[in-house]
């Protein structure tokens, strides 16, 4: 189908306070034309408020929201022409599937024949062709999800908003839907803003992720950069597993246990500094270590078997506990150290991330 050009979204100085709490605090954010951007944050971070302002359901205290060149911040929701998928789908229970999907078309006075065609097409897009006459309460959770999606895209909006749309599904279905939504986005190329608190979901689906906390954007980056090069300790803690080891900084270089650390970037600014350690980036090395790696010595506390992987928990000299994850192959398992063994852990300089030690 001939689709309208997707629109970029420009957000400036957007602020919304509930009493003394800032749900959004002077947010600036650009969503690029056609990209899949995820707002990721813990509950209460302001990500849902931001989405509600984009949809027009919440009114900010001040700020600007532009869809393309048009300022929309004062536009009522029914004039914004954005598709939205609600957390609980909000399918109308008094209408069948086809009527739900046809609803936005009817409001736009699309002629009957074209309406029917587009409804069927939208249902086929979400792999529900032929389900038009089903009642909403006859559908499974995944099917409802797809109907909600079909209803949100059938009128070819130039922006699509999704509010934790997969949170009600079980894990397997959720993972399948993540792939499907991603594929759908690639086909439709529609500018999409997606809200979730599930970091794996965000990492799987997004072109870019905006990590939000206390009404501010902590980092806006591609998933891989968010994971591998978090901008600050909050992002590092919120995304993935990590341990923070205090390091000493002298003359622009960091030292751990008296040994200098080779890092991808110089330690940040003045003040105290920590080393971020992710379990899967630590390698168990022999006592000799390996050249070119940063080495950390410790004693094995125990080995935890986790099915697809195993975690070796190691206590360092200063008492900090770190984990090193290995893929649970038979060979690796056989080579796993016994509790109490002295081990050397290796961390490649590219994975050596130094962060300012500000509490998140």
């Amino acid at each position: 189908m001939a689709r309208a050009e997707p629109l970029p979204i420009t957000i400036r100085q957007l602020t919304k306070a509930f009493g003394t709490v800032h749900a959004l605090d002077h947010v600036d954010l650009d969503v690029r034309r056609g990209e899949f951007l995820t707002l990721l944050g813990p509950s209460g971070s302001g990500k849902t408020t931001l989405l509600m302002i984009l949809a027009g359901f919440a009114r900010p205290d001040h700020g600007s929201v532009k869809f393309g060149d048009a300022e929309v911040v004062r536009l009522p929701p029914h004039k914004r022409d954005v598709g939205m998928v609600f957390q609980n789908y909000a399918l109308f229970p008094h209408m069948d599937v086809a009527a739900n999907v046809a609803f936005p078309l009817k409001l736009r006075r699309v002629p009957r024949a074209e309406r029917d065609r587009r409804v069927e097409q939208a249902l086929e897009t979400v792999q529900l062709g032929g389900y038009g006459s089903r009642r909403v309460d006859q559908l499974s959770g995944g099917q409802r999800q797809r109907v909600a999606l079909a209803r949100a895209i059938v009128f070819e909006p130039r922006i699509l908003l999704m509010d934790e749309p997969l949170s009600a599904l079980d894990k397997q279905l959720r993972e399948r839907m993540q792939i499907e939504l991603r594929g759908l986005h690639e086909r439709l190329g529609i500018t999409t803003v997606y809200v979730t608190h599930d970091q794996r979901e965000a990492l799987t689906m997004s072109d870019r992720i905006a990590v939000i906390s206390h009404g501010r954007v902590m980092q806006l980056d591609a998933p891989r950069r968010i994971y591998e090069q978090p901008a600050n300790r909050f992002v590092a803690e919120f995304i993935g597993e990590s341990t923070f080891i205090p390091v000493a900084v002298r003359d622009g270089a960091a030292f751990l246990g008296g040994r200098p650390l080779q890092a991808a970037q110089a330690p940040p600014g003045p003040g105290r500094c920590v080393l971020m350690v992710r379990p899967e980036r630590l390698q168990l090395l022999g006592p000799a270590g390996e050249p070119g790696m940063n080495l950390i010595a410790g004693r094995v506390r125990d080995v935890v078997y986790q099915g697809d992987s195993f975690l070796v928990r190691v206590v360092l000299a200063d008492g900090t506990e770190v984990g090193a994850r290995g893929v649970a192959s038979s060979r690796a398992m056989a080579a796993a150290p016994a509790p109490g063994a002295e081990v050397t852990l290796g961390l490649s300089p590219a994975d050596t991330i130094l962060l300012a030690d500000a509490e998140a």
Binding site: M84, P93, V136, F155
Partner: protein
């Protein structure tokens, strides 16, 4: 005993405790039944037996013999048919007015914050704590020829001659609507409160302005409450006695009034019983029709989806 044999057989090594567990399940079922028995007895004593007795009496002539004379009278005397018609008409009109007034009222309440809505709800319910008779006579005092309404309206120049507001259909309807309104507002309000706000957000998002979102989404979703309220009001109206007697001026004669009249007039209970039976049958027929229509509503997707 066959049962014991089967049980012993059931309790072999491959099915330990089978018989005991089955017994526990049976005991639980009986206990549940036992808990329900007061309700059964109540329904039997308070409903089934009196209704059966009513049926029996309606077929007895004054001399105690079986006869259809009471039913024949209902058919032969044209006043009875007119009274049944009037009863259903008054009930339908009252229900319609209650719906027209109650729906917007319930809507406003449902849009208020819960605390304020609860306060207003108490105000709506308050009349129910006052005697029906008192409320009815209050309307008589307000609406009569020299009553407050006429007096003030004439003083304000709204009309010159006293209007006939009571002792007729107008007065009866005013009184009945006032008394019945809470029974309409309560279920409608309940079903409106239960409507997820996301439905309205979704409607707005899909392009419906407030007015169209109201008519296309909110109203259909509150229909179950409206149907329930209408049914309650209608059924209650069918048995109304006091209000038409006091505010109807003697010409608004409903079935209940006629029953009271016939009890005084005839020696046997049969005459009044037959009236009761016919009203009961007509009401059941109406309920059956209504339930079919409501089921139809469900087929169309009533009931709030999960």
């Amino acid at each position: 005993m066959a049962g014991t044999g089967a049980e012993m057989h059931g309790d072999d090594a491959s099915r330990p405790n089978a018989a005991g567990l089955r017994r526990d399940a049976a005991r639980e079922r009986w206990a549940l039944l036992g808990l329900a028995s007061p309700a059964f007895v109540l329904v039997l004593v308070a409903m089934a037996i009196p209704v059966a007795w009513l049926f029996w009496l309606s077929f007895l002539a004054d001399d105690g013999s079986l006869s259809l004379e009471h039913y024949r009278r209902l058919v032969e005397q044209p006043s009875y048919a007119r009274i049944f018609r009037a009863t259903f008409e008054v009930s339908l009109v009252t229900t319609a007015i209650c719906a027209l007034l109650g729906f917007p009222l319930a809507y406003v309440l449902s849009q208020l914050p819960v605390r304020a809505a609860n306060l207003c709800m108490i105000a709506v319910m308050l009349p129910l704590w006052t005697s029906l008779l008192v409320r009815t006579y209050a309307w008589l005092v307000l609406l009569q020829r020299q009553g407050l309404v006429n007096k003030w309206a004439i003083e304000l120049g709204l009309w010159q001659e006293p209007l006939k507001l009571v002792h007729n259909m107008t007065g009866t309807l005013i009184g009945m609507v006032h008394i019945m309104l809470p029974f309409m507002v309560l279920p409608v309000y309940g079903s409106m409160r239960a409507i997820d706000r996301d439905y309205l957000k979704a409607a707005a998002n899909l392009g419906a302005g407030p007015v169209r979102a109201f008519w296309l989404v909110f109203v259909p979703l509150s229909m179950p409450g409206l149907a329930a309220g209408a049914l309650i009001v209608f059924i209650l109206c069918l048995g109304f006695y006091v209000t038409p007697a006091v505010l109807g001026g003697g010409t608004i004669i409903l079935v209940a009034n006629r029953i009271a009249n016939d009890i005084e007039l005839f020696f046997s209970w049969g005459a009044a019983s037959a009236l009761g039976v016919v009203l009961l049958v007509l009401t059941l027929a109406f309920l059956w029709l209504a339930s079919r229509m409501l089921r139809l509503d469900q087929v169309l997707g009533g009931g709030h989806g999960r």
